[in-house]
């Protein structure tokens, strides 16, 4: 039972972690090598890894998706460690997230495409950018991370501090502690007294039954002449 509980807990934490890793923003230092628009015929596997049509348009079964190709410094350990050389190919999709999910409220994918085109450069005369994105790249299922914003940077060796994620995890911890406090308060003030009352009632019922049983027993005893 204890093993089962631990197993369930591990799975829940793993899924929550994967979910956050998918949804939270990450930064890449990269050089944009090109932009493309490719028609995507979604399958049931990769459909959920794409957003919907731009918020002014209607969603069809297939649609054109904008892509940005870059050479980036590879990242390891959730983006905490960055490789020295920009030698890792990465492709981002560039889609509106719209009003719903994930809550980036991005409506300017066309403008972002323009920015990407403006900052396209060659290896000889590189223009470095910091690309904020969320999502995963998976070659087998044709899944791409979504680029949120592009910012010109001068120094490709700069360190990026993920302020948003730091704030997010602080807020998440605060939220969890708050929910725990609410639950403890509820248990102390509402649940335990009620359960106590129910328990008392039950004790009384049991005592009554025992009393009646013993009376019955005595009566039987008297019949048998004890």
């Amino acid at each position: 039972m204890q093993k089962l509980k631990t197993g369930v807990r591990v799975i829940v934490i793993l899924f929550a972690g994967m979910f956050l890793h998918y949804v939270l923003p990450q930064h890449d230092i990269a050089r944009i090598t090109g932009t493309e628009v490719i028609r995507q015929d979604f399958s049931s596997v990769n459909r959920i890894f794409f957003a919907q049509a731009e918020s002014g348009n209607v969603d069809g079964a297939t649609r054109d998706v904008q892509f940005i190709s870059v050479m980036r410094r590879p990242t390891y350990l959730f983006g905490l460690i960055r490789g020295a050389e920009a030698n890792d190919v990465m492709i981002y999709r560039n889609e509106d997230t719209g009003w719903i999910w994930p809550p980036y409220f991005k409506f300017d994918s066309r403008d972002l495409q323009g920015e990407a085109q403006e900052n396209t450069s060659t290896a000889e005369a590189p223009k470095w950018v910091s690309i904020t994105h969320y999502g995963w790249r998976n070659r087998f299922f044709t899944v791409f991370p979504n680029a949120i914003s592009i910012k010109r940077i001068d120094d490709p060796n700069m360190t990026i501090i993920p302020w948003f994620n730091i704030m997010f995890f602080i807020a998440l911890m605060a939220g969890i502690l708050f929910l725990r406090a609410v639950w403890l308060q509820f248990r102390e003030r509402a649940l335990d007294p009620t359960l106590d009352k129910v328990g008392d009632e039950w004790d009384r019922v049991e005592a009554g039954v025992a009393e009646r049983q013993s009376r019955l027993k005595r009566w039987f005893g008297s019949l048998r002449g004890k």
Partner: protein, 88 residues
């Protein structure tokens, strides 16, 4: 359409949150009053105790702290506006 959908979801979630927080806050306030009474008067008669606590609760219901819970509705709107501005 999506926008309306978001508004409805947002409203339902924040309303639930609002009620949860107000119940919690009220409960904490009551507990505090009870403890304060226990500290000031060892035992004491129960009528005065009830009056003291109910008085404190009425004060809380009309107080500023209770109104702060409305922030639950305000903060997400501010956050969404900020994110909207920053991403676009």
């Amino acid at each position: 359409m999506k926008f309306l959908y978001m508004l409805v979801v947002w409203f339902v979630i924040t309303t639930l949150l609002y009620f949860m927080i107000s119940v919690y806050s009220r409960s904490v306030r009551r507990e505090k009053l009870e403890k304060q009474w226990a500290e000031d008067h060892q035992g004491g008669d129960s009528d005065a105790r009830t009056a003291y606590i109910e008085n404190g609760m009425v004060e809380y219901e009309h107080g500023f702290r209770k109104k702060l819970i409305v922030l639950v509705y305000v903060v997400p709107v501010v956050l969404v506006t900020a994110i909207l501005y920053l991403t676009n």
